[in-house]
């Protein structure tokens, strides 16, 4: 039972880390540029498609992933320069609408270019198996890899934001945009860089989730909402908050899905219990967010000065 619990915790952690990769870019962009980017989920989807195509092309998942990352970053930069740059000074409603339009575009674009059927990403055989991460606890290798990469990225982002000059600008920008401008920094370039970084992270999340689910149209839509929930709970602009909230949500969701059906199964038939459990565990997340916002209207770790 304890092992099962631990395994489910790992699953939750894995989902939470994917969510964090998506939310990190979102919260940076939101924190620094005050931009709500609904199309972030589309960048996640496009990252997965890029990886699928490049993997097919090169025959190697890692080469595919390596090519997909800069492709995702480049796409993000193009989107920023073409469409989003003019929206920084607009109110959130305009941003929501315009990026909503971008979602429609990207979903349809993927349908046209990659087909409606969805694509699978082939993993190398050594990642298909399981590793024994603890005596008596085998765990799927690829999921384990996601956890390792996710934690690595979290560490990298932490160092980047806390220790580097770019990170200093990011932190300063999150609390005081005018000040960064006054320092003589090219704000436009900084914004584009950060946007590209966020896009690469989204692409990374997409290409890692691709082999587990399948790569399909609209795969970014629902996870985008979750990522928005994450950054709102964590506090807009806060990487640390996004990390904690993402992992919490991943674990809650997974635990709910794993254990609620059994609990409900004692008084419902299995298929009904499954339906209800899935809905309940999804609802748990939104209940959590509502509770956090009622108690702490600016999220758990609000960036100073916002």
């Amino acid at each position: 039972m304890l092992l099962l619990l631990f395994e489910q915790f790992l699953n939750g952690l894995q989902i939470g880390l994917l969510l964090f990769l998506l939310a990190a870019g979102l919260t940076l962009v939101f924190g620094i540029m005050d931009l709500v980017n609904l199309a972030h989920g589309s960048l996640y989807m496009m990252g997965a498609y890029f990886a699928a195509v490049f993997t097919q092309w090169t025959g190697n998942f890692f080469l595919g992933a390596l090519l997909a990352l800069p492709a995702g970053a480049l796409l993000g930069i193009i989107v920023e320069v073409v469409a989003l740059r003019t929206l920084y000074t607009r109110d959130h409603l305009d941003q929501v609408l315009a990026t909503f339009g971008l979602i429609l575009f990207f979903n349809e674009f993927a349908r046209v270019v990659f087909g409606a059927g969805g694509m699978a990403i082939e993993l190398p055989s050594w990642l298909e198996g399981q590793v024994e991460i603890m005596p008596g606890l085998p765990y799927p290798s690829f999921r384990f890899l996601i956890i390792v990469v996710g934690l690595g990225c979290a560490g990298f982002l932490y160092l980047l934001v806390q220790k580097t000059r770019l990170g200093m600008l990011i932190r300063a920008g999150a609390s005081n945009r005018e000040m960064v401008g006054a320092l003589g920094i090219d704000i436009k370039l900084l914004f584009t860089l950060v946007f590209g970084l966020g896009s690469a992270l989204a692409a990374l999340a997409g290409l890692m989730s691709g082999p587990i689910t399948t790569v399909q149209i609209g795969m970014g839509d629902n996870i985008l909402i979750l990522a928005l929930v994450v950054i709102v709970i964590g506090g807009i602009g806060s990487i640390r908050g996004a990390f904690i909230a993402a992992v919490a949500i991943g674990v809650i969701d997974t635990m709910g899905r794993a254990f609620l059906p059994n609990m409900l199964g004692s008084f419902l038939n299995p298929s009904d219990a499954g339906t209800l459990a899935q809905a309940l565990s999804s609802m748990l997340i939104y209940i959590l967010m509502a509770a956090v916002l009622v108690l702490r209207p600016a999220g758990l770790f609000p960036a100073p000065g916002r």
């Binding site: 929206l87 607009r90 971008l102 429609l104 046209v112 709102v232 339906t275 309940l280």
Partner: protein
């Protein structure tokens, strides 16, 4: 407030549009085109929802990203009652209004404490809660939804199975919703609502407890939108969580903004434009959203204030040029598909009316100017 001093152009076009909408069943009958009635029933129902959203979004400044939830609540109330054999409209409909009002009250109580992006997000989250509630309602079909076998029964007074009757009922509700919105917005209550949108800190210092006014508007909007859900359930004989998906809420916001926020008739224009554009683009290409998405981005970036805004700013010429280009393309297209001739004719008539209204307004304006000199 520009929205309250409607220039004659906007009002004339809106009245003409409502008049045209009233003619749809007759035209559908005359041209034996049942699809037209289906399309316009959908348009009218969505317009009701958009008008209700405009009350809080356009006039109250509350960007609710979960408005589709009330469509769902209204629809589900009717569907669930019908599922249990309760078909009487005087039970179904008031109960649906009550339920959507209560839902709005709960969502409003929680969300109206927050501001800005947090408000957008919390309304989205709470609507997602309702959405997943529908998904989990396994007794009522879960995510597959539920077919309604028998439409609401008005005791023989109104026969909802008669499609034109249902259409006229929807049309009447739309007109009533617009009138309700007009009265509310210009009343004392409406002044408070708009004042709070404009400067809510000042509202508090001159002595308004803004929260309760916002909440009341939120509940009114929820109830009117619930009514749209009731009509939608009656029209499609079907309810499912999909009608409450967050992207439906996004669509509603798009309709309001496309038409012009905080203008009485904006949501009407927006809904008609949105759904006709959807219909026409999707008849051209399966991948219509690839065109519609960028159009939306362009509208947000360049055409602030939407259709109504363009009319108000006297940019009617741009609007005209857009319409004309649209019709040129559309005429070429419909030459190949005869079944689209009728809607084209109607659209062309609407275009002619718009043009006429503009011409009249221009003439009046120039006459006035001449009078001043």
């Amino acid at each position: 407030m520009p929205a309250l001093m409607h220039k004659p152009v906007t009002t004339m076009i809106a009245v003409a549009l409502l008049g045209l909408l009233a003619l749809v069943p007759i035209a559908a009958e005359a041209f034996d085109d049942p699809f037209m009635l289906t399309l316009f029933t959908r348009i009218v129902i969505m317009a009701i929802a958009a008008v209700s959203l405009n009350l809080i979004l356009g006039y109250g400044g509350m960007v609710s990203f979960g408005h589709a939830a009330y469509i769902g609540i209204g629809g589900y109330t009717v569907g669930i009652l019908a599922h249990h054999g309760v078909h009487a409209a005087w039970i179904q409909w008031p109960l649906a209004l009550l339920m959507s009002g209560l839902t709005a009250l709960l969502i409003g109580l929680l969300s109206l404490r927050t501001k800005g992006i947090f408000f957008i997000m919390i309304t989205l989250a709470l609507a997602q809660l309702v959405y997943y509630l529908g998904n989990g309602a396994y007794a009522y079909g879960g995510d597959d939804g539920l077919t309604i076998l028998k439409r609401s029964d008005f005791g023989g007074l109104i026969d909802l199975n008669h499609r034109p009757t249902l259409y006229y009922l929807c049309w009447a509700v739309l007109v009533a919703a617009l009138y309700l919105c007009y009265r509310t917005v210009n009343s004392r209550f409406g002044m408070v609502l708009q004042g709070a949108k404009s400067n809510d800190r000042r509202m508090a210092t001159i002595g308004f407890p803004v929260f309760r006014y916002r909440l009341t508007a939120f509940v009114i909007a929820g109830m009117v939108c619930g009514l749209a859900g009731v009509l939608s359930a009656a029209f499609t004989d079907f309810i499912s969580p999909a009608m409450m998906h967050w992207s439906r809420s996004g669509d509603l916001i798009v309709m309001v903004v496309l038409g012009g926020m905080g203008s009485l008739f904006g949501p009407l224009f927006g809904t008609v434009a949105f759904l006709l554009l959807e219909e026409i683009l999707s008849s051209w290409t399966e991948y219509w959203k690839i065109v519609f998405g960028p159009i939306l981005v362009l509208v947000v970036i360049f055409a602030r204030g939407g259709i109504d805004g363009a009319l108000m700013r006297g940019q009617a010429n741009i609007l005209m040029a857009g319409c004309a280009g649209f019709f040129l393309l559309y005429g070429v297209h419909s030459a190949y598909e005869s079944d689209w001739l009728i809607p084209t004719a109607i659209l062309a008539a609407a275009f002619a009316l718009v043009w006429l209204a503009k011409w009249l307004a221009d003439r009046r304006a120039s006459a006035k100017e001449a009078g001043h000199v």
